[in-house]
C-alpha cells in the first residue's frame, strides 16, 4: 500500500539538529525498504483553476503557508496502521506543524 505523506508550511524553521534527525529518519525508512520517493516543494507554486474549460493561472506564494504543501514522502507499507506509526515517528521529530496522510492507489489496488 502506498501512502503520500505531506507536510504543510508554517511550521518552525528547521535547525541543524532537526535536519540531522530528519536525515536519520529518511535513512531508516530507506533501510526498512519503505521509502519510495521524497522531496521538498517550492512554496512559490502556480495555482491552476479551470472553469468550463477556461484555465486561469495564479502565481504563488500563497498567503496561508499552513495551507501549502512544502514537502512529501511516498511510502510503501503493508497496512494503514504501519503508515500511521511511521507518520507518528515523523511528527515526533518535527514536533510542531501539520500535514496529511493519503493512500495512493498503486499497483496492487
Amino acid at each position: 500500500m502506498r501512502f503520500l505523506m505531506t507536510m504543510n508550511g508554517g511550521g518552525p524553521q528547521p535547525d541543524q539538529q532537526l535536519y540531522a534527525e530528519m536525515e536519520r529518519f529518511v535513512e531508516e525508512l530507506t533501510k526498512a525498504g519503505v521509502l519510495l520517493a521524497t522531496g521538498g516543494l517550492d512554496p512559490a507554486g502556480t495555482h491552476i483553476r479551470a472553469a468550463d474549460g477556461t484555465v486561469v493561472l495564479t502565481d504563488g506564494p500563497y498567503t496561508e503557508a499552513k495551507e501549502t504543501i512544502v514537502s512529501f514522502a511516498l511510502i510503501d507499507v503493508r497496512s494503514k496502521a504501519e503508515a500511521i506509526e511511521l507518520s507518528r515517528r515523523f511528527w515526533a521529530i518535527v514536533k510542531d506543524g501539520e500535514g496529511d496522510m493519503r493512500q495512493v492507489f498503486g499497483p496492487e489496488t
Partner: protein, 424 residues
C-alpha cells in the same frame, strides 16, 4: 482492546520484529529462543499498551522488555548463564557486557549500525541451506517479515499446523546443528547468499502466481519479498545479485495492474497495456540494475533476468522490443544456468529476433528433454513458430497437445482456438 490500539501494536511489530529478534539472537545465540522472547515481549505490549499508551519508541520498549526476559532466563538457567557469561567475557564491546548488568543504556539498545549487522546475520541464518526450502521460507516470513503462522498458512494455501511444524523443525535444526549466528565467511558467502535470494524469490513467485479470488495474503507475498529484497540491498550493497533480484522484482511488480484482464484472465507481456505499467517501480528497477552493474563484478542469473525484464520495460510498444539483446542475454543466462526453461525462453527470443526457423532449431534440440515432457509451454511455443512458417498441420497438433497439458481452463480454450484456426 480497542481495534485501533491492536492495529497500532501489530504495525509496530511488523516494522520492528526482525530487528528485535536479530538483536536478541546475537545475545542468546539461538534464533528460536530469540523469537520466543520477542513474542513474549509482544504479548506484554498487547497487555500494557492499551492502558499506558504506545511508548515514544515502541521498538526500543519491545527490545528492552525482551532483553529483561532473556536475563531472567539466564538467571534461572545455569547452563545458559555460564554460556552467556563466557560470551560476555569474550566480547570487548559494552553491549555484550551490558547483558549481564542489564540494559542500562537505552542508546546502546537501539544502536542502529549494530542492529543492521544483526539483521544481516538473521537473514543468513533463517535462510540457511541446512533447512529444507519450505522451512526456510516459513522461518523467513516469520522472523524477517513478522508474519503470524496463520498468515503464512493462508498465503501458501497449507494448513496452519503444517506451517507451525515447519517453523518448529527449522528452529530445532538451527539449534541441534549449532548453526552459528553470523554472516558467513567469504568462502561460503556466495553459496549462502544464493540460498537467501532463492528464499526471497520463492516468496515473490508464490505471490506472483496468485489468481483472482485467492486470499489477499497471497499477492501480499510479492510485496513482502520486495520489501525483504530492498532491506537486503541496503545491508549488503556490494552484492550484484542482491540488486539484480531487487531489480527483477521491482520490474515484475510494475506490471501487476496490466497482467490480469477484467475477468481475471492472464494477459501475456506482449499484449499488456503498457500505460498500466507502474513507472515508479520500473525506474526503481533500472536503478537497482545500475547499482548491480556499477559494482563491476561478473553478472549472475538475477542480474541477467532483470536485464531481460528491463528490455521489455524500455520498449514503448511490444513492436519496439529489442529481441536481439534479449536473445543474447538469454544466451549468457543459458551458459550460467543451462536449464530447459531458459532454453525455451531463448528460443522465443531468437525466433522474434532472427525468424521462426532459428527458434525452431533450438526447440528441436529440446524435444527429448524429459523435464519439459509435460510442460504445456513447449508445444504451445512450437505450435506458434510452426504456424508462422506455414507448417499448419504440425502446428495444429502442437496446440492440441499444449491444450491437453495445461491446467488453466482459460489457456486451454485459447490453445484449442488456435488449433482450430490452423485447420481452416
Amino acid at each position: 482492546m480497542a481495534p485501533d490500539s491492536r492495529a497500532a501494536i501489530e504495525a509496530v511489530w511488523r516494522l520492528e520484529s526482525a530487528r528485535i529478534v536479530a538483536g536478541l539472537a546475537r545475545m542468546v545465540r539461538d534464533v528460536g529462543l530469540a523469537e520466543e522472547l520477542a513474542q513474549d515481549a509482544l504479548v506484554a505490549a498487547l497487555e500494557q499498551w492499551p492502558e499506558s499508551g504506545v511508548p515514544a519508541n515502541p521498538g526500543a520498549w519491545l527490545m528492552v522488555n525482551a532483553r529483561h526476559r532473556a536475563i531472567d532466563r539466564f538467571r534461572r538457567n545455569d547452563r545458559l548463564a555460564s554460556r552467556i557469561t563466557e560470551l560476555a567475557h569474550q566480547a570487548q564491546d559494552r553491549h555484550q557486557a551490558s547483558i549481564v548488568n542489564g540494559p542500562a543504556d537505552f542508546d546502546a539498545v537501539i544502536d542502529d549500525d549494530r542492529l543492521d549487522d544483526d539483521l544481516l546475520r538473521l537473514i543468513f541464518t533463517a535462510c540457511h541451506p541446512a533447512l529444507s526450502t519450505e522451512s526456510r521460507v516459513a522461518l523467513a516470513l516469520r522472523v524477517l517479515g513478522g508474519l503470524t503462522t496463520e498468515e503464512i498458512a493462508r498465503a501458501f494455501l497449507v494448513p496452519e499446523p503444517t506451517v507451525a511444524q515447519r517453523i518448529v523443525r527449522a528452529k530445532r535444526t538451527l539449534a541441534d546443528r549449532r548453526i552459528p549466528f553470523e554472516v558467513p565467511p567469504p568462502a561460503q558467502r556466495a553459496q549462502r547468499l544464493a540460498s537467501v535470494l532463492e528464499v526471497v524469490y520463492l516468496i515473490f513467485n508464490e505471490g506472483y502466481v496468485a489468481t483472482a479470488g485467492d486470499d489477499w495474503m497471497r499477492p501480499a507475498l510479492c510485496h513482502e519479498a520486495l520489501r525483504l529484497g530492498r532491506v537486503l540491498a541496503e545491508l549488503a550493497p556490494d552484492e550484484p545479485e542482491v540488486h539484480g533480484l531487487v531489480a527483477l522484482m521491482e520490474i515484475q511488480s510494475s506490471r501487476t495492474r496490466a497482467r490480469v484482464g477484467p475477468d481475471g484472465e492472464p494477459i501475456a507481456i506482449l499484449e499488456q497495456n503498457r500505460g498500466r505499467w507502474d513507472q515508479l517501480l520500473i525506474r526503481r528497477g533500472y536503478l537497482a540494475l545500475l547499482r548491480a552493474e556499477r559494482i563491476g563484478r561478473p553478472v549472475g542469473p538475477y542480474v541477467l533476468q532483470a536485464a531481460i525484464a528491463a528490455c521489455h520495460a524500455q520498449a514503448r510498444s511490444a513492436h519496439d522490443t529489442d529481441w536481439g539483446r534479449i536473445a543474447s542475454l538469454y544466451q549468457t543466462l543459458a551458459r550460467l544456468t543451462p536449464t530447459p526453461v531458459v532454453e525455451l525462453n531463448r528460443a522465443v527470443a531468437v525466433a522474434m529476433a532472427y525468424g521462426p526457423d532459428r527458434g525452431l532449431d533450438i526447440l528441436d534440440a529440446l524435444a527429448a528433454e524429459p523435464a519439459l515432457r509435460d510442460y504445456h509451454l513447449l508445444p504451445s511455443v512450437r505450435g506458434d513458430l510452426l504456424a508462422r512458417v506455414g507448417r499448419t498441420e504440425e502446428a495444429r497438433a502442437e496446440f492440441q497437445r499444449a491444450a491437453s497439458l495445461t491446467r488453466n481452463a482459460r489457456e486451454r480454450a485459447l490453445l484449442l482456438d488456435r488449433a482450430e484456426a490452423c485447420a481452416s
